[in-house]
């Protein structure tokens, strides 16, 4: 995962994020389904790893993820509705 391009790493983040949202909705009404819970944890682990690499290498995804100690980088890169954004 460390060697992925920004675009490919974003793909991992978006797809694992989607799986987490979908599993969370399912688990809200089926909290005892241990198989779904295991799957949730698998995706969550992958998601957390991808976000941490992304924020270190490229840009923050939330205000908790500003990695640069010298500059406030939250607004440096394009926002999601701007066409030049990879997000």
């Amino acid at each position: 995962m460390e060697n992925l391009s920004k675009k490919d790493l974003m793909k991992v983040i978006r797809s694992t994020n989607f799986a987490i949202i979908e599993l969370a909705l399912y688990l809200d009404t089926h909290p005892e389904d241990s198989c779904a819970l295991d799957t949730y944890h698998d995706y969550h682990k992958k998601f957390k790893k991808a976000v941490s690499i992304f924020e270190k290498k490229f840009e923050p995804l939330t205000v908790y993820g500003v990695d640069d100690e010298n500059f406030w980088t939250w607004g440096n890169e394009p926002w999601p509705w701007q066409k030049e954004c990879d997000c």
């Binding site: 994020n17 909705l25 809200d28 909290p31 840009e59 995804l61 939330t62 999601p80």
Partner: protein
Amino acid sequence: MWTYMKMLQYPVNIKTTNAKLATAIITQLGGPDGEKGASTRYLSQRYAMPDNRVIGVLTDIGTEELGHEEMIATIVTQLTKNLTINEIEESGFYQYYVDHTIGILPQAASGVPFSTASLQSTGDPIEDLQEDLAAEQKARITYDNILRLCRDEPDVYDAIKFLRAREMVHYQRFGESLRLVQDDLDAKNFYAFNPAFDKKAPCL
């Protein structure tokens, strides 16, 4: 509280502008069955919901709808980027343009601004969940209508198809939520009392 994540739930990359289509799609931001109505409805209804699992459903679906608002606003923004004044005049976009230029204001395709008058929070969990089920179907039908209008615009079609599919999933989860709430009530008369307000009779 909420935390913003700087990404779209599903990517939107529209290569060709189409102002006419934007005048239709804006309705899924601020129209009667749009995403702002959905997020406002679910996030408001949470406070009277007696079942904690169902509060989770309302919170998580309401939060996802906030992300869908951002997707719709992105579609409209990209469809209207760099329009010439001639295109604006010829497309029917001029009525929106005169008030908002190419900024985003939640409104219906008809021009009626977003209003909570098209949704309810009754304070009764069964009524609220029935409304949520209907809301997901109404939003799905609006997406079906939009899909017919954008059949020649693959970039828009793709994103709208994703949003339509989410309505189906939410409908399923709200159906399960209604069952969870009903399981906790008197099966002979679900409407005997409002479980969020009335006290349960000791014999029930």
